[in-house]
Symmetry: C2
Subunit: 316 residues, 2 copies
């Protein structure tokens, strides 16, 4: 009889409380707010308008000590320097080529990105993707000693899955250069290439092949984020999550429409399990965006309090 | 008994010959070639790589007497000229504003497009879409006396549906400006906004709204087609159909990959049911592309011989 009662209770539980879609989130108002938003969106928003956009670095995966794309760029520049004597004409590139592996950290952001664009230029899209895959497979994060693609945030992977299950199209929107992040997004977050919106270089088409040029077409950061979203999707997102001032225009764009809207910031306040940094971080400045969140009542997701688990238990 | 036999025969037919997915195509080698390609693609190509790209004007719908977008632009310029005194500083715009409705036809192509960009600039994305919808709902083709959105080619609508049923992602890739063609694509071909790749203007983001500027970011024609395809999709298409020299790089890009490939040109050779024009047409030049098709053995779809029906029987 006792066994039967237990079985009945179990059965009842499984019928009345469906599987938690966000098991890595603590049961805080943040989690309740997200789940309520998704429920409202399904009830009120036509499926074609269920567009969710996520920043990458610091929102979907670790961005310290530096954006992964720039660590890749520095590594590529060092290993390929002998084939590119022209790189030595740029004093910043010389610092990267001849310096220690983290020398790129000493450069100004624009010079860091210039290195990223230089290592892409002159190679076909396919060659560059192959190099990105190889680097991701053979390099590890200096602190966590895991491949970067295993440092996606588990709570965000669960949120992406939950959104998709509810008819959302999920896009990643990042200031990094698209050739590298398409590879990383596919491996780390399961976001397919045509759902990656990122900084575009100019390209040339020659002998039926595409090659990047070292000139920028459109920087997907700041105002460039809503602009790029419109260029690629053509609809205003109803959910946007970021973690820096460069994400603020994207959040404002998503917030400023009719019907259910969800805009939030990830706050890195967990030095023990990840990193703790705030308004004045060397990457991911979060100054105007935090003020805007306070003014507008946008949730600020605390990694420390809202997330039970940061990284996937095993490799993704 | 006779009735039973007929019923049995009917039943047998419906079991052994499945519904023709392309009823508006005559049973020519062209149709057989397309159906064989789709079958091969399903067997050999992973679903993520089943990408099909179609030019718009002259490939999916009528492009004579002029690209629909430019007819819209001329109409907009005439009706909104009093609000834009600055337009009169451009002598070409004056020709459009003060001339007959088809005055835009007398301008050089670059000047025609400049008018298209001017009528978009300064309005929000939403305002411009509304204007495009209103124009499409209230204007008719001068020869066929039907709304332009009912002048999609029925055989192409069937091909798009057949490709989708077989796991293809179908994109439209056009030199026209994206704000207008997104509206037209949704209405005429059922292609959603995020599957429209087109010419992009620069934009500005202000007060949480996007406005186009009258400056071009990337012309989606010629080499711009494969470049834009890579920017948006990140995969090389395996099917590409166009009808002019501006489509040739896109066709070369699609043709130059491993596995099953299908690249073809639409040939306007049916003056009676649509239009007949060729290498030297004022729109849709088809000179290098026809030579390339001959050299490479790409099919040239004859509207006259391959298509049983040109337009949908009733409005789509």
């Amino acid at each position: 009889m006792k066994t039967l009662a237990v079985l009945a209770a179990l059965l009842l539980t499984s019928c009345t409380s469906p599987k938690d879609p966000l098991p890595s989130w603590n049961n805080t108002p943040t989690k309740q707010g997200i789940l309520a938003f998704v429920k409202n969106a399904v009830a009120q928003v036509p499926q074609a308008d269920r567009i969710a956009v996520f920043d990458n670095d610091g929102t979907l995966w670790v961005e310290q000590p530096l954006y992964t794309q720039l660590l890749f760029a520095a590594s590529e520049m060092k290993t390929r320097a002998s084939q590119h004597p022209e790189w030595r004409a740029n004093p910043n590139f010389v610092i990267i080529i001849d310096g220690p592996p983290d020398a790129i950290l000493s450069l100004a952001p624009a010079d860091q990105f210039a290195a990223g664009f230089a290592v892409h230029a002159g190679r076909t899209v396919e060659e560059y993707s192959t190099a990105a895959s190889r680097w991701l497979a053979t390099n590890q994060h200096p602190r966590f000693h895991k491949p970067y693609t295993q440092l996606a945030y588990q709570p965000m992977l669960e949120l992406i899955a939950h959104l998709r299950e509810n008819g959302f199209q999920v896009y990643s929107v990042t200031g990094a250069e698209i050739g590298f992040v398409r590879v990383a997004n596919e491996q780390a977050f399961g976001i397919p290439r045509h759902h990656v919106i990122a900084t575009l270089l100019k390209s040339k088409f020659e002998a039926a092949r595409l090659q990047a040029l070292p000139d920028v077409l459109l920087i997907d950061d700041g105002d460039g984020k809503p602009i790029s979203i419109q260029n690629v999707i053509g609809r205003r997102p109803i959910l946007a999550i970021g973690n820096s001032d460069g994400d603020l225009p994207m959040l404002q764009y998503a917030a400023n429409g009719p019907g259910p809207r969800y805009t939030a910031l990830v706050h890195h306040d967990d030095a023990e399990r990840e990193f703790a940094y705030d308004r004045a971080s060397p990457v991911g400045h979060l100054d105007k965006a935090l003020d805007a969140a306070t003014d507008s009542g946008w949730p600020v997701l605390s990694m420390k309090n809202d997330w039970r688990q940061i990284f996937p238990k095993t490799g993704k």
